[in-house]
């Protein structure tokens, strides 16, 4: 048995790690993350030049990766760097959906790689409904065979510079039915789209979208009318694998920062890491983070197994949600006041880690999903 990544993936991971350590300064990241755009265009371009996007995309669409292991490796590195640029939104969610589309849509994936477009999946609706099949946005068929969409999409990241929206919508079935879901790929300047944006706690901006009688043509559907649930579902599962891996990278970095602090911060004449109460807390974090890593490995192994994928993905997302919040809270506590400051890196990692539990379903949701599967 061998849990080591292949040499190529290890090289990729090490290259990215080094790049983030040397070139992606957290203070620049924080300024960009809380700006009006929500990320740095310069950093986005520099990182694209490293081939990060290609490593997320299948060879037949001009990438050189795209497997579960590739994605997991890259996102763990992105987590270590606390990268805020839209790799998840564009490189995973949009690219996975478009790769199931017609030739024009597939060519958009190639354009992503050339930095000629920035498509965003517009799927999530009600704030607290995490079900992948929850879609109320209405698709109505017009007399001339064209379609119109009306509805609202909530809390989408990185919409500001988007060129296309991939909008999920339904023409039949009740709100959570897997049947009746379609995806429309439309330019973002199409008439009838309203955007409200907000600053976020963990960086990047989020937006609510309202679609009012937005016209689309039949060529703009990705997949067949009413039959696209499996496309969305697979894209989101891939997204979950990605952010669980991101969380691992974040936790490893938090562990390093905290350990370093426990060894250097002195109170009562000794490093605080000498207090047994503190040692046990830190040891517990290590134990939990190992479990989190195993849950992600498990989800990666079974990712292409249609019968096991959802269950192992839910198990991983549950584990990451539970452990991530613990790691964030404990690491702040072990730092004392220092953990509370904007100046110091830890808090920014902790915020992203906690907010990962609010993306694609929290620990409660995935525990219930696991029970139901």
């Amino acid at each position: 048995m061998d849990f080591k990544p292949s040499p190529e993936r290890q090289i990729l991971f090490d290259t990215l790690k080094k790049y983030f350590e040397n070139e992606y300064s957290l203070s620049d990241r924080n300024i960009a993350a809380h700006s009006d755009l929500g990320y740095s265009k310069k950093a986005w371009e520099a990182m694209r030049d490293l081939g990060i996007l290609e490593s997320l995309i299948d060879p037949e669409l001009d990438g050189f990766g795209g497997t579960a292991l590739d994605i997991s490796t890259v996102f763990e590195a992105l987590g270590r760097g606390l990268v805020v640029e839209p790799f998840l939104e564009v490189g995973i969610l949009a690219a996975k959906v478009l790769s199931k589309g017609n030739d024009v849509q597939k060519s958009l994936v190639k354009k992503i790689l050339k930095n000629e477009c920035l498509p965003i999946l517009a799927h999530s609706e009600t704030d607290t409904e995490y079900s992948k099949s929850f879609v109320e946005t209405k698709l109505s068929v017009e007399a001339d065979g064209s379609y119109k969409i009306s509805g609202a999409k909530r809390m989408l990241k990185h919409v500001t510079e988007a060129t296309h929206f991939l909008v999920t919508c339904r023409n039949t079935g009740d709100a959570s039915s897997e049947e009746g879901i379609s995806i429309a790929c439309i330019p973002t300047d199409r008439e009838g789209i309203k955007i409200d944006s907000f600053a976020t706690i963990d960086g990047g901006r989020v937006s609510d979208l309202t679609f009012t009688n937005v016209s689309i043509s039949s060529e703009e559907l990705v997949g067949e009318l009413g039959m696209s649930y499996s496309i969305v579902s697979h894209a989101i599962d891939t997204g979950i694998l990605a952010i669980c891996s991101e969380a691992l990278g974040i936790m490893e970095r938090i562990k390093e920062l905290t350990l370093e602090y426990l060894k250097t911060r002195k109170q009562f004449g000794v490093p605080i890491g000498k207090f047994q109460a503190i040692q046990h807390r830190m040891a517990q974090l290590l134990v939990e983070i190992e479990q989190a890593r195993s849950s992600v490995i498990n989800a990666t192994i079974y990712f292409d197994d249609e019968t096991e994928r959802e269950k192992t993905i839910s198990a991983a997302k549950f584990s990451i949600g539970k452990i991530g919040t613990l790691v964030a809270e404990e690491s702040i506590q072990l730092h004392g006041g220092m953990g509370m400051t904007w100046e110091y890196d830890l808090g920014h990692y902790a915020k992203r880690l906690v907010l990962i539990d609010h993306e694609f379903g929290d620990e409660d949701f995935h525990l219930q999903k696991y029970i139901s599967l």
Binding site: S124, E129, F198, G337
Partner: protein, 398 residues
Amino acid sequence: MDLNFTKEQENFQIEVRSFLSDNLEPQVIEKVKNGIPITKEDSERWHQKLNEKGWLAGTWPKQYGGQEWDVVEKFIFEEECGSAGAPRIVPFGVGMLAPVLMKFGSQEQRDYWLPRMLTGEDWWCQGYSEPGSGSDLASLKTSAVRDGDHYIVNGQKTWTTFAQHANMIFCLVRTSNEGKPQEGISFILIDMNSPGIEVRPIITLDGSHEVNEIFFSEVKVPAKNLVGEENKGWTYAKYLLTHERTGNANVAVSKRKIQKLKKLADDANKNGQPLSNDPMFASRLAQIEIDLQNLEITNLRTLASVENGEAPGAESSIIKILGSEIEQDIDSLTRKSLGKRAFVNEPDALSAGYNGAEVFPKAAAYASGKYFNHRKKSIYAGSNEIQKNIISKLMLNL
């Protein structure tokens, strides 16, 4: 055992309630109930209203403008303020320094400083912690050297809450290096406008500015600002900390926050049903509610022993641990209850100048921010680990 209020206590409760409903500003209630920070001006207007009624420092002796409330009256007042969404009284002057001055200060100091706390002429901050001295407070280095009728102060304080608003700071300073570190500490009052003081903001992880670093360089402080005796400051500081910690139960505030959380959960949907019907969510909420009910009694038991003349000892550590953790649990579940909306961080969304998109529900404007900001509750006023050390030592004799 009798947990009922007397007739007089009931009447007092009614009086407090009607005062609050007549005097609290709706815009301030809205901020408080949605967990959004209030401004210095909001606090000052509220302090003034309370002072006009004689309730800004209800526990103080009548001669200094207080009401001599006993612990039950204090409890009733705080309970009602908490549930009405009143701003918290800024504690540094009336709640922390005042008890020290009354017990250890000179008559002249009491007569001068206490009335100014009530009128709001002075805004106090607390200068205990230093970069190298947090949990190990007794190791503090900021020095005060006697020079005629002045002390000359040099050093640095940090984490000073609201120093940016304050014109006065009470400080622990080192006046001697002999003997145990605790034996060389003095308690002194310093004018923040003195030459040689520089205040720099520390921004917290949620992006807000409430703490600061303060640098002292050759600051001249009149010797009459020394409280009590030189090198006895540690005793005064410990006395103050016990007062600080018993005020940390926050039962009324936590109750109000639970009500708000229930409302949020009723209005949110999960699996096509109100979130409050979700068994996982309901179980989390119920556990917090039970913890809080238990704390309410634990807190009353501590208060009752204080009423019977026992000084709050290590019991205040129990209250500090529970009060902070329960409030953090509520903040955590509030964040959870907002689902994806928890990404939003627009703490100015309820302020007049805000021109961004409307945040709905309003509590989402700062729910995650508040959750992260309130991680401080288990760190300050003596971290919860230090409270456990105190319990181990004083209650368990370990």
